[in-house]
């Protein structure tokens, strides 16, 4: 069963990534684009976990961990810039 669940899950998450990319390209406001990138990263976490399970490697999970831990720092920097014009005040 797991043999066909994972490809379907991967496909759905890829679809999610496509939607994010659409929003990144089209998004009328800059904040839409920033959020699109952030959401893309979250999807990335899922894709990495699923890919590791599918390939049965067991060592790629830390990449997902790092995205979860640090991925938002880039978003924070951009948002601070949009809010205040300065990244470090």
């Amino acid at each position: 069963m797991i043999a066909w669940v994972i490809p379907i899950a991967l496909g759905l998450f890829s679809l999610g990534m496509l939607f994010c990319l659409y929003r990144l390209a089209v998004g009328p406001d800059i904040i839409d684009r920033v959020l699109a990138l952030d959401t893309l990263m979250i999807n990335g976490i899922a894709v990495i976990v699923l890919a590791d399970i599918q390939m049965a490697l067991g060592i790629i999970f830390e990449a997902a961990l790092l995205i979860a831990l640090m991925g938002f720092i880039g978003t924070v920097a951009m948002t601070k810039y949009l809010l205040r014009g300065d990244v470090i005040e």
Binding site: L10, L24, I30, I60, E62, G74, V76, A77, G85, I88
Partner: protein, 930 residues
């Protein structure tokens, strides 16, 4: 062995006056005079051997692959010059002791003079051509320092620069010529070069080589048109002028011509190049000398004239001409140096060197007058003097010329030059010591020169007299062996008795003497005409030429390198595509034997997203923030690609770097306007697109071709040896910190340097006011939102924990010092962003620069620890230990190395970040960070 001593003694002696500069002048003169005297005596002791025809060679190999060795050679020619250098040097040092009386700069002078003596001896005693070139350039350098000795004077500085450029440039040409000569002869050793004369002259490269070597010799010996540096070198102190610019350095070029005579001379090209140059120099020098009002200027031009004379004789090429040349060389040194000394004494006595004002000094300095009369008469070529004989020898040789045109021109020319030389010799004597009363002298009545100061002058005058009265003796003892060495054959002794009865030379001498006297008597109207001519300063012309050359090359350089990054990239890509494509076009088949692996949907999806995102960056690039976001997408998908191809370390590293890169780029972007202007035109787009497209397709195709061919990579070795050799199961990490640890050490050093460079750049940087944006009015009031601060505070300990975990497990599982460092840096960056610069700096107790230095030091010391146990640098060791609860684990010394990497990464990243952040704060740069 003695040869080496002769050269090294002046070099060693040069240190004493430099170190003891405050000593009185007489003691420094002693320190300087003793080495010179020692070398001189060593040379004299070797005279019997050299007279017997022996050639002493002393050799010590240095770089045998290049043909360069310390090789010294003493034969007749070398001995003659070396004795001249050391003997004259001793007398100049003695003279300088009185010249520098009361001045504090004598220490510097003496060490420079000894250094020069060392260099000059190196030229004349060298056996290896390349070795000689080193000394050649050294003499140019020391001469530069000596001409600019009174560096307060602008005229001295300009003159020194001009002399260095001309003689140094000549040295470059000489280098090229000597390299060619060495190749043509098959060796750089003189013994072999001198025997290969026939082969050299028959070689097709002979004209080029000869021109280059002669250009080098001409620039050094102030031949026309390179003679201009010599008169302007007269701003040097008089001992320098007497030593370098009349007796030794300017003769180096002529020495070279005599030394290489058997190898490169006696051809028609030699005659055609050297004789006209010599003749022009002879005439220009003699004619202009007459009109110089400065004593040293007159002497400088007369030196130029005599150098042209010697060059002319060397150009005529017959053994008798060579004898005349070398004989005149000796005579010239003996009469020119005392005249320079006289100039110096007159200058110090009266405060002026202008001959229009110095007249009638016979009343005040009768002894000096008597002592000057002899050299001046020798220079004029009056009977019974040495100059008379050498002039006659010149006339004799000039009549021997057999080429059709030259056979009439040369004797007439030489007689005319002789006429002028008589005129200026009379002038220098008569105008200084007679000719009425002194006019307007700064020091009046003139000071008496001390008796002891005139001793060197007297010795040289005595030398002139000896040569004049006993020429055959001097010739046989000293000059003959030099002539033999220079011609490469045994030349019969010169018949001086035949000289006095030759008819035409006698007539020519008489014409010259009478004509010269008449010319001198008619000087006043001639001076009047000369003073109405426009004044031409060679220094101005020279500097004008140099400035024009510099401006031209700058224009050309800026045409190519105009500071535009797009231009450089385009050039690089076009060159790569051109060269690589041209080489690869010969491939008949792109695809190799390896079959393509099956394609899966996820990879296709990922690859297409990367392509689209990259295109997106290009499309969005005017709006910088969206472009940055598209770049972030690229980075994320590259990480996914690494994960897909099971490269966990790479994925982790790419991720961490991506985060830091985004933050730093945001910092920089905040100072740029939000939108960049549209600057490119359609043709330019097309051009750029084409170049980029072809480059991309080319690289892609190359990768395809490489990947489809079987390749034996080095990864097998590492996979096999990671555990037994390094003790870790993470091959990537073992390679980084163990197998290729030296590489990593270099990389963290570079990272540290880059961070310190950013620190240095931003230290006192006050950037212009930021461009006003539309969003400015809508800034949120709160600079530090509470939610962010709270989250940041929670994230920090967790991130540090993760960082430590990744660091410790790096040797066996994906991880390592670099990734751990970046995680820590990211977490700390979050603190800076959330709390602000001031808040974070208060709490950041570690200074960043010591952190960077400590990291590199730790990595290096870990490597050096291997030396203690006798192993090469960066050999690591590992062992297995067990703890009660933890179990068995592996510990390697590479862990310390990794710790160094960790510290450097944290320090560098935070240093860059904090300093850029400090710049961008609206409040402006504050206290230093890091």
């Amino acid at each position: 062995m003695q040869l080496a001593l002769i050269i090294l003694v002046p070099l060693l002696g040069a240190f004493a006056p430099a170190l003891r500069r405050r000593d009185p002048v007489w003691r420094l003169a002693l320190f300087a005079g003793l080495p010179a005297l020692l070398s001189f005596s060593l040379l004299l002791s070797l005279l019997p051997q050299v007279l017997a025809g022996e050639v002493l060679v002393y050799q010590w190999d240095w770089i045998s692959q290049l043909g360069l060795s310390f090789a010294l050679r003493l034969d007749g020619l070398g001995w003659l010059f070396a004795t001249l250098i050391t003997g004259m040097g001793t007398l100049i040092i003695a003279y300088a002791r009185y010249y520098f009386e009361g001045k504090a700069t004598s220490g510097r002078f003496y060490s420079l003079i000894l250094l020069f003596m060392f260099a000059m001896l190196g030229i004349v005693l060298s056996e290896n051509l390349l070795f000689m070139l080193v000394f050649w350039e050294l003499t140019s350098l020391v001469s530069f320092l000596l001409i600019g000795f009174n560096w307060h004077s602008q005229g001295a500085r300009r003159g020194a620069r001009m002399s260095l450029v001309i003689t140094g440039g000549g040295g470059l040409l000489l280098l090229a010529g000597l390299l060619l000569l060495g190749q043509m002869a098959g060796s750089y050793q003189l013994s072999e070069v001198l025997l290969a004369g026939e082969r050299i002259k028959a070689d097709p490269r002979y004209p080029v080589m000869l021109s280059l070597v002669l250009l080098g010799a001409f620039t050094k010996s102030a031949q026309f048109p390179f003679h201009l540096w010599l008169p302007h070198a007269m701003s040097a102190p008089t001992p320098v002028s007497a030593y370098l610019h009349s007796a030794t350095m300017v003769k180096a070029g002529l020495f070279l011509m005599a030394r290489l005579h058997p190898a490169i001379a006696d051809t028609e090209l030699w005659f055609n190049l050297v004789v006209p140059t010599g003749m022009l120099t002879l005439m220009v020098g003699a004619f202009v000398a007459m009109f110089m009002h400065d004593i040293k200027g007159l002497l400088a031009y007369s030196t130029i004239s005599h150098l042209g004379l010697i060059a002319l004789l060397l150009g005529l090429g017959t053994p008798l001409a060579v004898s005349a040349a070398l004989f005149h060389l000796v005579c010239h040194a003996l009469f020119k140096a005392p005249l320079f000394m006289m100039a110096g004494m007159v200058d110090q006595a009266t405060g002026s060197r202008d001959m229009q004002r110095i007249n009638g000094l016979w009343r005040y300095m009768p002894v000096l007058m008597v002592l000057t009369a002899v050299p001046a008469a020798a220079m004029a070529g009056l009977p019974l003097m040495s100059g008379y004989l050498s002039k006659k020898m010149l006339f004799v040789e000039s009549l021997q010329v057999s080429y059709p045109f030259w056979t009439t021109v040369v004797p007439v020319w030489v007689t005319l030059a002789g006429l002028f030389s008589v005129a200026y010799s009379i002038r220098i004597f008569h105008n200084v010591f007679y000719n009425g009363r002194p006019l307007d002298l700064p020091i009046y009545p003139p000071r008496q020169p001390s008796r002891r100061a005139m001793a060197p002058l007297a010795l040289l005058t005595l030398g002139c007299l000896v040569v004049g009265f006993a020429p055959a003796l001097v010739y046989d003892k000293v000059v003959a062996m030099a002539v033999n060495a220079a011609s490469g054959t045994l030349v019969p002794a010169y018949d001086f008795s035949a000289l006095s009865v030759a008819r035409w030379p006698m007539i020519m001498s008489i014409i010259a003497m009478i004509g010269g006297a008449l010319f001198y008597l008619a000087r006043n109207p001639l001076f009047a005409i000369h003073s109405r001519l426009p004044e031409v300063d060679a220094k101005n012309i020279f500097e004008w030429i140099v400035d024009r050359a510099i401006a031209y090359s700058q224009r050309r350089v800026y045409q190519l390198e105009n500071g535009s990054l797009q231009r450089y990239l385009a050039l690089i890509l076009v060159t790569t595509v051109g060269l690589g494509g041209w080489a690869l076009l010969r491939f008949d088949q792109w695809q190799g034997p390896i079959a393509l692996s099956p394609v899966d949907a996820m990879s296709v999806f990922g690859a297409s997203v990367i392509c689209l995102a990259a295109l997106g960056v290009v499309v969005f690039h005017h709006a910088r923030l969206p472009a940055l976001l598209a770049l972030g997408v690229c980075g994320l998908f590259v990480t996914l690609a690494f994960a897909r191809f099971s490269a966990p370390d790479l994925a982790l590293t790419q991720l961490s770097v991506e985060v830091m890169a985004v933050v730093i780029m945001m910092l920089a972007l905040s100072f740029l306007p939000q939108r960049s202007p549209h600057e490119s035109s359609l043709p330019r787009w097309t051009r750029d697109l084409t170049v980029a497209g072809i480059a991309g397709i080319g690289v892609g195709g190359l990768a395809y071709a490489v990947l489809t061919r079987p390749v034996d990579s080095i990864s097998d070795f590492f996979l096999a040896n990671a555990v037994p050799g390094g003790g870790g199961t993470n091959v990537v990490n073992v390679i980084l910190v163990d197998f290729r640890g030296f590489d990593t050490l270099g990389e963290i050093t570079v990272l540290g340097i880059a961070a310190v460079a950013v620190y240095a750049f931003t230290r006192d940087l006050h950037l212009k006011e930021r461009v006003a944006q539309i969003a400015d009015e809508h800034w949120v009031a709160d600079p530090h939102p509470v939610i962010l601060s709270m989250v940041a505070r929670l994230v920090l300990p967790i991130a540090l924990l993760v960082s430590a975990y990744i660091f410790l497990r790096g040797h066996n599982m994906p991880g390592g010092g670099f990734i751990a460092g970046l995680i820590t840096a990211a977490a700390l960056t979050l603190q800076y962003m959330a709390g602000g610069l001031v808040w974070a700096q208060e709490r950041m107790l570690t200074q960043f620069r010591p952190l960077i230095g400590g990291g590199i030091l730790l990595a290096g010391v870990t490597g050096m620890g291997a030396w203690v146990f006798g192993y090469p640098f960066l050999t690591s060791t590992f062992g297995y230990f067990s703890l009660p609860l933890v179990g068995k684990f592996e510990l390697a010394s590479a862990l310390l190395f990794d710790l160094g990497v960790y510290a450097t990464v944290v320090g560098s990243t935070l240093l860059i970040l904090a300093n850029l952040g400090k710049l961008m704060t609206v409040a402006g740069p504050g206290k230093e960070i890091g």
